[in-house]
Symmetry: C2
Subunit: 140 residues, 2 copies
Amino acid sequence: MNTKTPNIETDIPRLLAKHGIRPTKIRRAIAGLLFDGVDKHVSVDDVIDLARDQNIKTSVASVYNTLNQFASAGLLHRVMVEQGRAFFDTNLSEHHHFYLEDEERLEDIPADNINITGLPELPKGRRIKSVNVTIRLKDN
Amino acid sequence: MNTKTPNIETDIPRLLAKHGIRPTKIRRAIAGLLFDGVDKHVSVDDVIDLARDQNIKTSVASVYNTLNQFASAGLLHRVMVEQGRAFFDTNLSEHHHFYLEDEERLEDIPADNINITGLPELPKGRRIKSVNVTIRLKDN
DNA sequence: ATAGCTGCAAATGCTTTGCAAGGCC
DNA sequence: GGCCTTGCAAAGCATTTGCAGCTAT
């Protein structure tokens, strides 16, 4: 048995609790879809499709509510690359992204090796909330 | 006289021509608003307001058409930071952005000093279209 | 019983499109 | 004249909101 695979019965409620989110049925179900041990970048539609595939009955509004709540709680990161649709990133460690334009898909760049130097002083009275590197790629 | 200030009568048509854009009245007017020698990050609404301020009569659709055309022609860069609204950046040199969340405003970071090292290999068959660093800032 | 959650449908906000009228070479 | 452009209004999409009914404690 793969010990890396989260146990949906125990780990998911614990994960939600850790972020101060009440573990309702829908939230547990959606969290179960997202946190299965594999990092993902999903759109709202992706989640709706995933839910349908697993016979999880829910609605557009609830998926939005749930993902937004997860994002505010820090369980997901919202990533904007294109006009219109947002991606939600389940990878919470510091990292960056390739954006493959032809596939409209994100791919992680581990932050391990990446180093950004030469940043100027921040504007007064502000501090960094996040640093985001997005490298747009196109077909050869 | 400030020789850096573009002359709208000559420089704007030349700028449009250089990018293969026919210099119609509206296009010249909007380009004149944008390329006045000061780098800007404008939303569509900003442009509509700017136009109104200068008694340039136009429409929402035409502003969208014009900005989109400028962006495809490489006269502007489209920048996405938030859900919903796009910014158009008149600074075409390589650079990056602070995003001041509290003011919903972008600020340039010159690329001069910035250095990104440790990028992994690109996915097969792809090449870099652009590298984008966005540093989100919040109030202290 | 109560507080919070869910999901439908309607509303919102930004952007795009269809199309008729107008402008320019 | 003919082709491109303009601008109005309508349509399109992703997302949010209002609210009635439901659920779980």
